[in-house]
Symmetry: C2
């Protein structure tokens, strides 16, 4: 799951007033509440008041559930805690009212399938992930699997931990919405079809195996769309909605004397550089051939040929967004002073949304410890990710990378794709997106709309053949630090523009009711 | 200390017969021994027989001493066991007969100074190191600090461990020679002036501080030259003598968003590559500018301008050596199939000896663990070593590297020199070298002579101003794997052409006697 907050949710302050729902819920009687509640809730005044009270009542329970979840590391990249993480999520699904909960074996980590039949006319598809990114405790101010509750100036009470915002926090928030509806004695307004994977953070290599199971396909086909819970608010409360996401290839490029037939097959004394080729230099030359001389523009032959240029409508969407999103905030959040090519803010957003990339995630070669070690390494590795836009595909792009390397004299280089998938797109006028937009607006937020998220998620499994369903993320609330140290999710917000967990739970309740009503 | 065995001691089989001294010493009576002993020993038949017997007697003691030494890790790069390693060596010096043993403080790890006054007319300078390279136990077949004695087919009984050949093994062998001389009731034929450092493996940054102490300078000035014990024999028993060594600069090149003012100051989500510069790509572009497009020839501006071309005499020396050294053996030892530029064997030796290099020791950037992690790293580091030939100097070369980077648009890059020094040269007609050669020849070995070792050692401290002394390595015996896993030193040789430890001890005894006699 991309760190959406870092990618493009650094929005300007919302000019509309936005109620601090938690304060409201805590302080007001049900009758008084009605005057402040979202307009849609006027149709269900009793439900709204009762569910709101139930959210309040179950706040501590919901926080504890999230803490329990974060405290169970489940890192696919390290094959750590995966069984435990899968079991725990299944148990949580049962407690939240799902039935027919099944572990779905794959060639990698298992997925999970479940349904919740409310006898409603509409069915919503849900996509969860139970894995999280790796975490290096040395980089964290609080242990990443402790799920500490911390007061942070400007934010309020936050939960710190790997998975806090990506994605256990928002997922636990959605489950809390189900608990609140059921706990208040109400009936679910829509049916749910749930599908989850445990390999999102390694590029979802086996998720299609889960989705393509006949019973899963049958259940998903009935859905109006697929929905993933998310903490969509920026630091200023603003929400950015995206109509899809880039695709991605994650791969390791390995240069070795063994495969090359030049240079040493094992590390040798560095003095031999004078008479031997170096697999490390070979890797560097191969890498340099993949991008423009400044390292910024992909130079893999034909790589961007199928990249669909932004349409006029998309360009306008971005221009509008650029006016509303705050460049200084975005730069501050990212810790940067300049965009690539010294682009303007609007250009930077266009690049972010429209440009395929070739990024170095990591370099590992030879001696990596303190000081030096006079060796000529026999092997060096670059970890790359390539972001793709429609109509590029992962399979084709990988093939182009391999062909480029072969043509440039680097055919010996091992290219090991560790994960990835195609770009994904969802129509702006789909029910899923219209309802999301409506709930945000009724919550006092005018969402910024962007053609695409620059991060990636395996939405193509839903939006592509054969399902061709709309798919998107939704939810109020705020968090940050996905894939980074000190990942957090706001539990009690001190900023009236940003929802805490209760407000985020309520946003999901509203979404489900809104979806049931919409046509 | 360079891995000389790997660099150029892969010699062809010596056509001369070479006695298996260990077998000889074990099996023969003193009288019988005289017929097989080196010619010089005829002058001292009693000494020779008595010392030979003493070497035999003290074999187990000598092996235990070496094991004790290896079992004490002393790794300057990790500041590990340095005090203990320094103390242990001082104690060993005392036991071997040195006096006035002094720890010499520096701005880094301390050196050691000691003398052994035998009332002789000549004084020999000794250079030791008490530090060893790092070792990753996972790569070793036996723990690197266990000093296991192992039978290895084709070699005999070897000692496995970090420092076995580089340099504790040969150093312990030299100390065993002193024990043997003293233990047999003989007087040392020459005086010794001993100087040691604990930072050889990190480029000897503070060794000049030791040597330039007035009392050390005074003692060294009296020396005929400076000598470092070494296991000089290749797998085939052949010995290659070198008349100096390349200089070296070890440095870290660091690219960071912080210093660059472009790209992120902390790791951010990799989707941002589309709109941000990448410090990792920046590093790669900087590195690519340092070498020719194939990564093989230095391209740092003016870097090689002062590299003195090989003289006709040096070229002839190399051509002669190429005829005697076995290319196939060298390739096998290094695990390579081709030389750089598909050079011939003679060309490869010329390159090895005469070419300055820019080598990548290691690459570390961003995520280096298993699988991938979708980040755009804020920082990336290359560990480099640059080998220098006369008349290049370390200071000037470092300055050229910095100037080159600045000119090419990489002035933001941090260049942290972690160690290094100038090239070193010793005249072929110096007493030190003549005696080495003589002892080898009298041991039945016609040494291959090369103008320079492609590795580096801080000999410039002795051969440069103000001392201008000859300096070189000497010793029979064999080992390999310096700076690599499974470093070893042969204790009991199963190959009649290669000396085990006792034979190596005797070679040092012979050297000291020969030196005393020579003029």
């Amino acid at each position: 799951m991309p760190d959406l907050a870092n990618a493009n949710s650094n929005s300007s302050l919302d000019k509309d007033h936005q109620p601090d729902r938690r304060t409201f819920l805590q302080g007001a009687a049900a009758a008084a509440a009605l005057t402040a509640m979202p307009r849609w809730a006027h149709a269900y005044p009793d439900d709204f008041a009762a569910i709101g009270a139930e959210i309040e009542k179950r706040h501590d329970e919901a926080v504890r559930r999230l803490q329990t979840w974060i405290r169970q590391p489940s890192i696919a990249a390290e094959n750590r805690g995966m069984n435990e993480g899968c079991e725990m999520m299944q148990q949580m699904l049962g407690e939240a009212g799902f039935s027919g909960i099944k572990k779905m074996p794959t060639d990698g980590q298992p997925g999970v399938f479940a349904t919740l039949d409310a006898g409603a006319s509409k069915t919503l598809g849900l996509y969860f992930m139970y894995d999280v990114k790796q975490a290096d405790p040395a980089e964290w101010s609080s242990p990443p699997f402790e799920a500490a509750l911390v007061d942070k100036p400007g934010l309020g009470k936050i939960i710190l931990g790997r998975g806090a915002v990506n994605q256990k926090g928002p997922e636990a928030t959605f489950l809390a919405a189900l608990h609140a509806i059921r706990g208040s004695g109400r009936k679910m307004p829509v049916n749910l079809a749930f599908v989850a994977e445990g390999e999102e953070e390694i590029g979802s290599p086996h998720f299609p195996q889960v989705v393509h199971q006949p019973e899963v396909m049958a259940a998903l086909k009935k859905c109006v769309g697929i929905f993933m819970p998310q903490a969509s608010q920026g630091l200023d409360g603003q929400v950015t909605m995206t109509l899809g996401a880039k695709g991605v290839i994650e791969c390791e490029l390995t240069s070795s004397g063994e495969r090359w037939g030049r240079g040493p097959r094992k590390d040798v004394h560095s003095s031999n550089k004078a008479r031997l080729d170096s697999p490390a230099w070979h890797l560097l030359e191969a890498l340099a051939s993949l991008v423009s001389p400044d390292g910024n523009d992909p130079a893999i032959e034909n790589y961007t040929a199928k990249a669909r240029p932004l349409s006029d409508a998309e360009k306008k969407m971005i221009a509008d967004a650029a006016k509303r999103l705050n460049e200084a905030d975005a730069k501050k959040l990212l810790g940067v002073e300049r965009w690539v090519h010294d682009a303007s803010w609007e250009q930077a957003l266009e690049l972010l949304i429209s440009r395929p990339t070739v990024n170095i995630e990591g370099l590992v070669g030879g001696y990596t410890g303190p000081g030096g070690k006079t060796i000529l390494p026999s092997k060096a590795v670059a970890k790359l990710d390539l972001r793709l836009v429609p109509d590029m595909t992962a399979a084709e792009s990988l093939q182009l990378l391999r062909a480029h390397l072969a043509r440039k004299g680097f055919g010996d280089m091992e290219v090991n794709m560790t994960g990835g998938y195609d770009p994904t797109s969802t129509p702006a006028d789909s029910l899923l997106i219209r309802v999301e937009s409506a709930v945000y607006r009724r919550s006092g937020i005018d969402p910024v709309l962007l053609p695409r998220n620059a991060g990636s998620w395996p939405g193509y499994v839903f939006t592509g053949d054969p399902l061709r369903l709309p798919a998107g993320h939704f939810g109020l609330g705020h968090g940050s630090g996905a894939h980074a140290p000190d990942e957090y999710y706001v539990i009690e917000s001190s900023n009236p523009r940003v929802q805490g967990m209760n407000g985020a739970v309520l946003s999901h309740v509203e979404y489900l009711y809104e979806l049931a009503q919409a046509s």
